[in-house]
Amino acid sequence: MRQITSEDIEPLALGATLLGTGGGGDPHIGALMAKQAIDEFGPVTVVEPDALPPDGLVAAVAVVGAPTVIVERVPAGSEFVASLRAMSRHLGRDLVAIMPIEVGGMNTLIPLAAAAEMGLPLVDADGMGRAFPEIEMTVFTLAGLPAAPIVVADEKGNLGIFETTTNKTAETLGRTAVVQLGMANAVAQYPMTAGQCAAAAIRGSLSYCLELGRRLGEAAETGLADLLAFAGGRSVFSGTVVDVDRRATDGFTRGTCAIEHAGEPDRVLRLLIQNELLIALDDGEPVVTPPDLICVLDHENTRPITTENLAYGQRVDVIALPAAEQWHREGFTDLVGPRAFGYDLDYVPFTTTEANFQGSVR
């Protein structure tokens, strides 16, 4: 058991930006929320799920909407607490802990604020180990755990509880409610016992995110080798952005980003974007596919660049990190593999370079 204090917020937010793989919303606003809540209510205790009573109720909470709207229509804080309390009322049981649904993007930090305000511990675990755009894209779905009931709440006192038959339906219904409630709302989801959480969740993900953030913070001075060794990741490409194409489709920013290799004039890396950076094609050959992670870093300062901020002329380094091992079970490619996002490609097993592999700890 340990505590997350104000000093941890900055590296945690940096790690969350990296694991957001270009999407997931800018964690900055989540960081400000977490700081304010910790200043007001005190630090947050982080627990391993198996340190909780096995029958105790755990639920995830997240902000759902459009990042562009969330940075304008800043949360009140009360909507997250309201969604979790409604979940508790609906199920007739008190919560023993809160969980982030994704560790990547702004939703890494927001459950911290809710945990501080409610005086509940935060589970050092999540359902994605990165950011994904839809509620059902979790290791819990693979494990057969329902997302429902889900509670969508706004800050005015409006909320809706959805009982659904599939996690995909929970996503569809929840999303529809969010459009009506202002596109920046709280969603409590995946109520489960601490025992179920311990068995199915991606364990240690907050600690992992914090450590990644710390190492990334130092990488501007020391280079990326240490971070890549720690995460078992690899360097994919280094070059200059020569083309960015984004377009609106139904709820997704789809697009591509082409990067010209710094040393080999004719070699181009093409990144396929759907909110997040999803697929990397090196001269047409898929080299990284979901659920493995692709991160674009500013060559100068190793800061992650979000898909919205990718622009012509930027000098970047592209790195890949392996998906959490909990993803590698029956059916994951149907849920979060390239075909789940509409690409006619097979999942490409993650490899590290020889040098990285030697230093890998995972």
Binding site: G23, A66, R73, A76, R246, T249, D298
Partner: protein
Amino acid sequence: MSRLRIGIDVGGTNTDAVLVDDHDTVLAAEKTPTTSEPLDGIRAVLTAILDGVDRAKVDQVMLGTTHPANAVIQRRGLSEVGVLRLAAPTSFAVRPGAAWPADLRAQVLGPVAIVGGGFEYDGREIAPLDEGAIREFAARCARGGVRAVAVSGVFAPASTEHEERAADILAAELGATARISLSHEVGSLGLLERENATILNAALQEVAHRVVDGFRAALNHHDLDVDAFLTQNDGTLMAADQAARLPVLTLGSGPTNSMRGACALAGLSEAVVIDVGGTSADAGVLVDGFPRESTAAVEVGGVRTNFRMPDLISIGLGGGSVVRPGEGDVTVGPDSVGYRVAEAALTRGGDTLTLSDISAVAGRLTGFGRQEPAGGIDPRIVKLALDWVDAEIDRMTTRMKSSRHALPLIAVGGGSHLVADAVRGASRVVRPEHHAVANAYGAAIAEASGAVDRVIRFAGDDRQSSLDEARRAAADAAVAAGADPHAVRVTSLTEIPLTYVPGKASRVLVKAAGPLRTRRSR
């Protein structure tokens, strides 16, 4: 009959001016040291540049100045600000002034209130405007003697109504002399960053009015009956009266003016630009004639804003940088004798070894030093200092250029003699005529602009008409700012789809700009 314009740039070290005709040809250029009372520098530079010129031919004067930026950085002359946010019941999770440096917060933040108001992304009200709470807030400001107020409403860039109504109420309660800054005039989407910029804007009101009053006094002093403008962060113009109200929009204009001026003087549209002044060197890159913008959130005096600023690297390398010989090496800067270089430099009879001395002894700078100082300067020190300068400039150039292809390097600014004739990563080094006043030239050739930033929702065909309407609104705003309606054009259109939500909606940012219409054609 050719009409004339004057561009002036007040930097930390020098105050520069150029006189250009309506073909943008430089007719006169002048550089004087920035004085401790900076408006004296403007008068002096105008005196020199107007020598023998028919003042009646001068239509417009454009000023770029670092006054407001320095006021924030040095925490000088800032007013206490009442902060009103129109957002309740949203936004309480992050209160105004979050993440501000403690000293600035203590100096600037006065009464704060988050009251009912603001709009949803689709234009509905979040809550009706809570006029009673605004009056209460005004009373708190009045009791505390606070005259500057920053008002920020959710989605104000798209729906201005609540901010305008709040301003009316505040003016009625606080009196017409209260200075009220509205967020929709200051920034784009992103409530917290826009609010930060609005608070800074309100804090700068006194400084800005002094600058603009002084600018006008200098113009009157020279019998110039002209339209007066200040340059903005994006290199376009604001009428001086408007700049007095919206000083925060001028904070980053210096580097933009310099890069755009360099580009126009050199006749290039793709190049790395390095501006070497007295104290520092800034390197940036022009892509299609415009400075590449930084992806990082722009901080002003430690406060995060959402302005778009040129992607720049700045280091302490300038003509006045102090050189200190050490054991087997030298250290250069980051301190500088600044505008005093002409007296303080060793080869000018002063007592400080500066990079200008090194450059003069090495033959890069001519006509500077009167003589070698007694005992000369150790050639080893000259070589070590120049090696450092060359390595730094190579490094900045390589870091800025956006492809493996070598780009031309445009060297501008009073200290650009320090840039060697061959730089690694640069195809050639271009030193355009009048390079020493590139920033003033950038101000002189600046255009008037307008921008819109809104969320559009569309189904099928009306996306195009929504975009067209946004284009028209930006062009109208540019014309309202002084652009020639016949020459105004859309300079950028960015459409960012709203993600994670079904239905089609985009955030659209459009900028339009055009040359100023001449006074005659009005």
